[in-house]
């Protein structure tokens, strides 16, 4: 390995080293997402310019821990099931799919204390694949390398890439500099990997696993609760709305948002908007948020070439929700006029 102290000049890595580097990176970034910047990891983070520059200064351990807790225990829940399924519960089908996928990858992981669909566990699986790849490269077995890469790409295609963009968007929406940088770096890493494995394009179906969103406006029985429920499900509305975001939106449109779970807060927000005749303002604010999400997905989170296709389905969801909001607005307008 040839390293270069000048960050603007590329280091020269052998293919095997690159694979090992990716494995270490996936594992390291996953660890940060799972545990936060613990004192044990802080020195290592300082060694990584792309992350070190985003550390709050002073990087006080308690505050770093509190920020992590706030972000990943109170606001954004980084589990595949929360992003891809509508139940908003952990476990369930996503966990099973992951169990099968890990088995297919020969990836044995202890998931007693963290659900198998946590982003860090999925990154762990990817790290495992990269290590296998490095070994195969070192052994000079090209067929084995291709096979491993193909399996890795299938895994990425079916799991992590299906939800990494909305997860990254949700993290970045929390406006914490370090985790914003981390999510950007993660997207960059994945994009680079997908680019390198793109020769195996056929392995990636890029089929959306997103559920068909309910046509809530088609039912006469639909109420604000149904709309709130729709907005609380990322795979329906196209974005994961954290409590913090809901609170911010409420403040921006001058409305209370109540307490409780995300769906309860959304319902309260919608009801208060209705009560104080601020529905249009709220819908406009949501539209801005969803518009931003559309752009983010369109751009593949800044990596359009390699990740853009995984953003397409999410973009359509966000666009669908915007259309729904416009219809709501029109209905309200018509109702007011009559």
């Amino acid at each position: 390995m040839v390293t270069n102290s000048q960050s603007e000049l590329p280091a020269t890595l052998s293919p095997a080293e690159k694979s090992l580097g990716r494995a270490a990176a996936c594992q390291f970034l996953g660890g940060l997402l799972l545990e936060g910047v613990t004192p044990a990891l802080l020195d290592q983070v300082r060694e990584i310019p792309l992350l070190a520059g985003a550390l709050p200064e002073p990087a006080e351990p308690d505050h770093l821990a509190a920020a992590h807790y706030s972000l990943f225990q109170l606001n954004v829940f980084p589990y595949e099931t929360i992003f891809l399924d509508s139940a908003n519960l952990l476990g369930g089908p996503a966990s099973e799919r992951l169990a099968t996928a890990y088995r297919d990858l020969n990836y044995l992981v202890e998931t007693n204390t963290v659900h198998p669909d946590h982003v860090a566990v999925e990154l762990g699986a990817l790290a495992h694949v990269c290590r296998l790849e490095a070994r195969a490269i070192s052994s000079g077995n090209a067929e084995s390398v291709r096979s491993i890469q193909r399996r890795g790409l299938v895994f990425l295609d079916r799991h992590l890439l299906q939800w990494i963009l909305p997860l990254a968007l949700a993290i970045q929406s929390q406006k914490h500099s370090f985790y914003t940088a981390l999510s950007q770096l993660l997207l960059e890493l994945l994009a680079e990997l997908v680019g390198e494995w793109s020769g195996l394009e056929s392995a990636a179906s890029k089929t959306s696993r997103l559920e068909v969103a309910p046509a809530i406006l088609e039912s006469e029985k639909t109420g604000l609760k149904d709309i709130a429920g729709y907005l609380a499900v990322a795979s329906h509305c196209g974005v994961f709305l954290s409590r913090q975001q809901i609170g911010e939106m409420a403040r921006e449109v001058d409305l209370p948002r109540g307490f409780g779970s995300r769906s309860q807060m959304l319902l309260t927000l919608l009801e208060s908007a209705s009560r104080y005749e601020r529905v249009n303002a709220l819908l406009a604010r949501l539209d801005i948020l969803l518009g931003g999400a559309e752009a983010f997905y369109q751009d593949g989170g800044g990596h359009k070439a390699n990740l853009g296709s995984y953003g397409r389905h999410w973009r359509l969801k966000a666009a669908g929700t915007r259309a729904l909001l416009r219809r709501m607005s029109a209905l309200i307008e018509a109702d007011t006029t009559t």
Binding site: T3, N4, S7, P10, A11, L13, E17, G21, A23, A24, A25, Q27, F28, E47, I48, D62, A65, A66, H68, Y69, S70, Q73, L74, N75, L89, L90, G92, S95, E96, L98, A99, R103, N106, Y107, L108, V109, E110, T111, N112, T113, A127, L185, E188, L189, A191, E192, Q244, I246, R251, D254, P256, F259, G260, S261, Q264, L267, T268, E271, S272, R275
Partner: protein, 998 residues
């Protein structure tokens, strides 16, 4: 290219950092699951056979038979219309979403170890396989992504809302050291404040081992009124009606949908009805129970005792009561003696003179009968009808039904009127009077004591009583309280009575659940008075936000506990289990601590207390450590398995034999079935013969070693009751001796409620606010993270009679403002004839509020608390700190409402401690009820805590201090129950100048 460079450099850095690889996994041997276990074959094959169950008689199975529980295959209903086979291991456990302890059966997927669903446990004698909505909803709670998954410690100021994850070891070490320091200094510095115990004996054993007076409960906001009323009769503090075999079921509560113990009782009430029993319900609301009743008596709150005594009077005047029973078991001789001593006025001069003259013939049961008739003759149906505002015919109909109960009168009151009213304890006493008069005490179809039907086994090596008395829990003003004056803790702290070194709140949210919540807020913030607050809770709650440590504890499928409840005439125990751990162990995987098997690092209290106690006494010098030695491996620490194994082997009659018949150990039997029926029936245990004692005293008590151990009845020595007289005490010498000599205290008699019609000026706009009823699917704060339950019920509008609505110009959905003694709240109104005129009813099981949502909202803001305080006692909910925010853009300061989680009315309730039972009298006088003004918004809550203390002082002035009333220099009658009793020495009244605690 730039990106490539960045990534290349990043990867090079990663290599240089030498990130260690994740632990190498063992090589794969065939197919495995994520836990590294061999996969069941069906995962690899399409053709999986369903488990087939065929009964010889051709019937279908309601449940998987236990012999199939280890390996049960069925289609996945969620996967329909696909046929997806699931192979489960079924693990029994016990629900924790209310007090009933119903059995659950967890379906744990053998492949993924995921809990797929909870259904009923058919082997559970109490619930018999049936559950309410709360049981299956446990699944929601376990897989709720918003639950607390890891131990956390606060960072920054208390209530600031910043938390960091810590290890269990750090939590144990730090908290253990604080407990040690406190225990070395004093024995009243550690307080364990429990909401729903949800278990029998384990934690109390730990507290006893610590040697502190540290048990604090929620009883005084729940059941203390009923407890005292029952206790004075027979030294038991809860009823256990045998609904299934009753002829008449008389309820003062909405038992069919929400009562203690809702599901087990409801199914037996229906069984009773199906067999012809008549159901009578006293409730100002047309509850679901009332609507199913044969007779609904919508009483004015507080009039229940009068109505019950009118029924008693009917039985007495018409000689329709069980005289033989009363003669045999009631302390009538002591009652006559009290009359002779001038302690009890009969209200009949001629009769009194006869008794005072002391003619021998007057010391007879017949005289006592005359006394009863004289005492209660004024309790006519007409008087009852006037006070209760119930049609007289309905009261007469009720009395006639009771008179014909044939010794099978099942009665129950819990919370409701007994905890609603000043003097509410007399409601329970008057109700049980009907059981006594009809001879329906402990009979088939009658009403037993809880202790006759609840089975609590002994554990090994019970620590003895402690030598301590915590004045913050059992102060001198309430010597007869049942039990700790828990809801007054902030008021005592405000009075500078003491402090708490380590305060545990356990599945308890005092700031939300108690009245006068802002006083709790003040106390919880004060680090001088509550020095360390540890919240043991599965989910975030209002109080946990002000803790120093928040430690995640498991839901019902994530913990060990042993439970029993008096659900019917038999006795049983049930074993709560961490089902995923059990499933893993069945699969051969070793689990040392339950948090290894639960989501995140959610733990269970059983193991936590062991480890914490060891940290508290690392060298054994405090004498604590010894209680946590294994009974099986001397010198080693006890495991949870050791603890329960010993109980099952040594302390549960019949269990070892039952287990042996299946070639199981007792522990394995309980792990398999999750429950055991100890006795099928346990009727009239007080009549059971006991060995003769040393002597029989002049009042007929059987004495042994100087202690009364039974009663001589018709020549036989029988167990009798736990009272000092060993009889059912119609007249209470204890009340007489402890400074409450008036007739309305010593015998069943109505006490004038604080919400008596005399105290509610309807013409001035005052009304009675009835808050203390449950919703069928929600239990205080614990069910808040079960969305299935919230989907069913999520609003608590104020019920209002059309007469009142018309007077106030209201229609359903309008906002009303309800002014209480200390503040006001705004809620929506539901206009309905299901509530009495003059009363508004609003459940206080809704109205949750949380602080978490604001975390990180605005980094420039400090703490982002949701409460506005003017610094002068006024609190306004859901607004930000600081005077500048008051005037800023934030509309939360003006518009507060939580439609989907209801209105938190408890904040606006002043504390009303009953001067005798100590229970908080929940009913509120609504000073004013009116249509809300345009600027008043739904959910708005405003409270002035200066008024809080004023009301507290008014009620405290009603008490009679033990210093003035104690007949024997003790703080409390020795025979009165406490959850954990100290040594007799600790009962002695303290010196006048003894300092405050802490």
């Amino acid at each position: 290219m730039a990106s490539d460079n960045r990534i290349s450099n990043f990867l090079a850095t990663m290599l240089r950092l030498n990130i260690p690889e994740l632990e190498e996994q063992p090589p794969v041997q065939g197919m495995t699951n994520v836990a590294g276990q061999g996969l069941p074959q069906f995962a690899a094959h399409k053709n999986v056979e369903m488990t087939q169950v065929q009964h010889p008689d051709g019937r279908l199975s309601h449940y998987p038979p236990p012999e199939y529980w280890d390996d049960w295959v069925e289609w996945d209903g969620k996967a329909w219309p696909k046929r997806v086979a699931r192979r489960y291991t079924l693990v029994p456990t016990v629900c924790f979403n209310c007090e009933s302890a119903c059995g659950l059966l967890a379906y744990v997927d053998k492949e993924s170890l995921e809990i797929k669903k909870f259904e009923g446990n058919p082997a559970h004698p109490g619930s018999r396989g049936r559950n309410c909505a709360k049981g299956p909803a446990t699944h929601n709670q376990i897989y709720d992504p918003e639950r607390i998954l890891y131990p956390v410690k606060r960072v920054g100021a208390r209530g600031e809302g910043k938390w960091k994850r810590i290890s269990w070891e750090q939590a144990l070490q730090e908290i253990g050291e604080k407990m040690r320091a406190s225990r070395q200094k004093r024995r009243d510095g550690i307080m364990y404040h429990v909401g729903r115990p949800g278990e029998d004996g384990y934690t109390n054993r730990c507290i006893s081992a610590w040697g502190v007076d540290g048990h604090n409960s929620h009883t005084n906001i729940c059941s203390s009124g009923a407890r005292l009323g029952y206790f004075l009769w027979g030294a038991f503090d809860r009823p256990s009606p045998d609904h299934a075999h009753a002829r008449v079921i008389l309820l003062i509560s909405s038992h069919l949908e929400t009562g203690h113990y809702f599901n087990p009782h409801a199914q037996r009430i229906i069984e009773g009805k199906m067999a012809g029993a008549k159901l009578i319900t006293l409730d100002p609301r047309l509850s679901n129970t009332a609507s199913m009743s044969d007779v609904w008596l919508p009483t004015w709150p507080g009039s229940e005792s009068t109505l019950l005594l009118s029924i008693a009077n009917y039985l007495l005047q018409n000689d329709l009561y069980d005289k033989a029973y009363v003669r045999r078991w009631v302390n009538w001789r002591e009652t006559l003696a009290a009359i002779r001593q001038g302690k009890l006025e009969v209200g009949d001069d001629a009769l009194t003179r006869q008794i005072l003259d002391g003619e021998p013939a007057t010391d007879s049961f017949e005289t006592f009968e005359q006394v009863l008739k004289a005492l209660y003759r004024d309790f006519t149906f007409e008087r009852a009808a006037e006070e209760s505002q119930v049609p007289v015919e309905r009261i007469r109909e009720t009395a006639e039904l009771v008179a014909n109960c044939d010794g099978r009168l099942a009665t129950h009151t819990w919370r409701s009127a007994s905890i609603g009213n000043l003097g509410g304890w007399q409601v329970a006493r008057c109700l049980f009077f009907l059981n006594v008069l009809t001879g329906s005490v402990g009979t088939r179809g009658g009403t037993s004591a809880n202790s006759w039907n609840k089975f609590v086994p002994k554990s090994y090596k019970e620590p003895g009583p402690f030598n301590a008395w915590n004045e913050l829990q059992m102060p001198l003003e309430w010597p007869l309280a049942f039990f700790e004056m828990s809801f007054l803790l902030p008021h005592f702290l405000e009075e500078e009575r003491g402090s708490v070194d380590v305060y545990f709140t356990r599945v308890y949210n005092p700031m939300w659940i108690n009245p006068d919540g802002f006083m709790w807020l003040k106390a919880l913030r004060d680090e001088e008075k509550i020095r360390c607050h540890v919240a043991l809770t599965p989910t975030w709650n209002e109080s946990a936000w002000f803790a120093d440590y928040v430690l995640p504890m498991g839901h019902s499928g994530e913990r060990h506990d042993l439970m029993s409840q008096e659900t019917h005439a038999g006795q049983w125990i049930a074993f709560r289990q961490p089902v995923r751990r059990v499933a893993m162990e069945r699969a051969g995987k070793r689990v040392q601590y339950t948090y290894e098997a639960n989501p995140g690092e959610v733990w269970e209290e059983n193991e936590f207390w062991i480890e914490l106690s060891l940290r508290m006494d690392p060298d054994g010098s405090l004498g604590i450590r010894q209680w946590f030695d294994s009974p099986y491996r001397p010198g080693e620490t006890m495991t949870v398995e050791d603890y329960y194994r010993w109980i099952f082997e040594n302390s549960v009659p019949g269990l070892p034999v039952a287990a042996s018949s299946e070639n199981l150990t007792p522990l394995a039997y309980m792990r398999k079935y999750g429950a055991f029926e100890v006795t099928r029936t346990n009727f009239v245990p007080y009549a059971k013969e006991i060995p003769h004692g040393d002597a029989v005293d002049e009042s007929g008590r059987v004495m042994k070693d100087g202690k009364a151990v039974g009663l001589e009845v018709e020549g036989a020595s029988v167990a009798g009751f736990g009272t000092p007289s060993r009889k059912l005490e119609f007249y209470s010498p204890t009340m007489q001796d402890w400074g409450w000599p008036e007739k309305e205290h010593t015998i069943p008699w109505p006490l004038k409620s604080h919400v008596h019609p005399d105290n509610i000026a309807l013409e001035k706009g005052e009304m009675l606010l009835l808050p203390n009823f449950r919703l069928p699917t929600l239990i205080h704060t614990r069910s808040a993270n079960a969305k299935w339950l919230y989907e069913i019920s999520h609003k608590n509008p104020a019920w209002m009679n059309p007469q009142d609505a018309s007077r106030l110009g209201l229609i359903t959905g309008d906002l009303i403002r309800v002014d209480t003694e200390i503040g006001y709240f705004v809620d929506k109104v539901w206009v309905t004839e299901a509530i009495k005129p003059g009363v508004i009813a609003m459940s206080h099981h809704l109205g949750r509020w949380r602080l978490q949502e604001d975390v990180g909202v605005n980094m420039g803001m400090s703490n982002l608390a949701r409460l506005e305080e003017d610094g002068d006692g006024t609190h306004h909910l859901n607004i930000l700190h600081g005077p500048e925010t008051w005037k800023t853009f934030d509309p939360d300061t003006e518009r507060i409402w939580w439609k989907e989680v209801g209105v938190h009315q408890n904040l606006t309730h002043a504390v009303h401690p009953d001067p005798i039972s100590g229970g908080h009298c929940w009913l509120q006088k609504a000073i004013n009820v009116r249509k809300a003004a345009p600027e008043e918004t739904y959910g708005e809550v405003v409270v002035d805590t200066r008024k809080s203390m004023a009301v507290y002082h008014e009620w405290k002035a009603l008490t009679r201090n033990a210093r003035d009333t104690s007949p024997d220099g003790l703080r409390r009658p020795l025979w009165f129950k406490r959850p954990l009793k100290p040594v007799v020495e600790a009962y002695k009244l303290p010196a006048e100048d003894s300092g405050s605690s802490g």
